[in-house]
């Protein structure tokens, strides 16, 4: 069988052929019994394939999908809650720390009766060596 004609035959099922190709195919079909048989077989096979389709899942498919979605969402929510509580805990500690620091600064300001920042934070102008040489008690 002519390969070009066979290609046109297959193509004709899926695409509009141009006028020249259409004429060529029609001529060939008129002349060849084998080609006509081939066309019938292709058509039959295409119908068989399209009718072989199974178009449904098991019953309650939609419910199954929704169940899986809900489970996934619950997991995501649990993870989110965990991160939220971590975040909340961090903020609690950060606030306590900040309040403590502010209290320390205020105390130093009052006790030292002066404003320099070094004193407020107990920052000494001694060198590291001087600190090491200082008596412990």
């Amino acid at each position: 069988m002519n390969k070009k004609i066979l290609k046109l035959l297959y193509q004709s099922f899926d695409e509009d052929l141009d006028e020249k190709e259409q004429k060529l195919l029609e001529e060939a079909l008129k002349k060849s019994e084998e080609l006509r048989r081939e066309k019938e077989q292709i058509l039959a096979q295409r119908q068989a394939v399209s009718q072989s389709a199974v178009r449904s899942f098991r019953p309650f498919f939609a419910e199954g999908v929704m169940r899986r979605i809900n489970t996934l969402e619950k997991k995501e929510n649990a993870l989110e809650n965990f991160y939220d509580s971590l975040k909340a805990m961090f903020w609690r500690f950060a606030t306590i720390g900040a309040v403590g620091l502010i209290a320390l600064i205020i105390y130093n300001l009052i006790a030292g009766n002066s404003l320099p920042l070094e004193e407020a934070f107990f920052i000494s102008d001694l060198t590291f060596e001087e600190i090491l040489q200082m008596p412990l008690f």
């Binding site: 039959a44 072989s52 389709a53 199974v54 979605i69």
Partner: protein, 196 residues
């Protein structure tokens, strides 16, 4: 007279689903379940994994609801997800088969009894098994074009291939399918008689 059960458009259902209305999403599933089933079962055969991939298709869609801009129809969008997941599943199977089985693991051996093939169910099973014998790239075009009924242009868009490639794959796939099915039936046209 207005029906008590309002028919809602896909767009409405998507907006409601985005706002957390699970019933709206369930309605979408029911609307497209058959289409996704045809694609996934066409690609993987009627098996447990097909059901899982079908569910996964809708879960992926649910997770990307906010990204869905409606450039493609819901059906086409779902088909694209279903085809990609099915192709991944086929790859997974092939890897597993390479690991655990020899090359002779051949599905066609499990074909139904040909003596009973005149019954529609058996015929369907034979054709389905024949489709499963095709290479995934050929199977995909057959499923999209002949089972899902997409045009060649739509098939090309879903598979991100040029139309010419889809056309040549379709022709080759049909020839291969004929080679697979002909020895079982003598002439494919006998299948047609079996369907009536």
């Amino acid at each position: 007279m207005e029906s008590s059960k309002t028919i809602r458009t896909d767009q409405e259902l998507i907006i409601k689903s985005r706002n957390g209305d699970n019933n709206a999403f369930k309605e979408l599933i029911k609307k497209y379940e058959h289409q996704v089933a045809a694609t996934v079962i066409g690609m993987l055969g009627h098996c447990e994994e097909a059901e899982d991939i079908g569910q996964e298709t809708f879960i992926r869609f649910y997770q990307s609801l906010n990204k869905f801009r409606g450039e493609a129809s819901v059906g086409t969008y779902l088909t694209r997800i279903a085809i990609n997941l099915s192709l991944n599943e086929i790859k997974r199977r092939q890897r597993q088969r390479k690991l655990f089985f020899s090359k002779s693991d051949d599905k066609i051996k499990n074909m139904p009894d040909l003596n009973r093939a005149k019954e529609n169910k058996e015929l369907k099973k034979i054709v389905q098994a024949g489709i499963q014998k095709l290479e995934p790239k050929f199977r995909a075009v057959i499923v999209l074009r002949l089972i899902d009924g997409y045009s060649t242009k739509e098939t090309a868009q879903i598979l991100k291939l040029p139309v010419g490639t889809v056309l040549s794959r379709l022709a080759r796939a049909q020839k291969k399918l004929k080679e697979i099915l002909t020895p079982l039936y003598g002439r494919i046209s006998s299948i047609k008689e079996g369907w009536t």
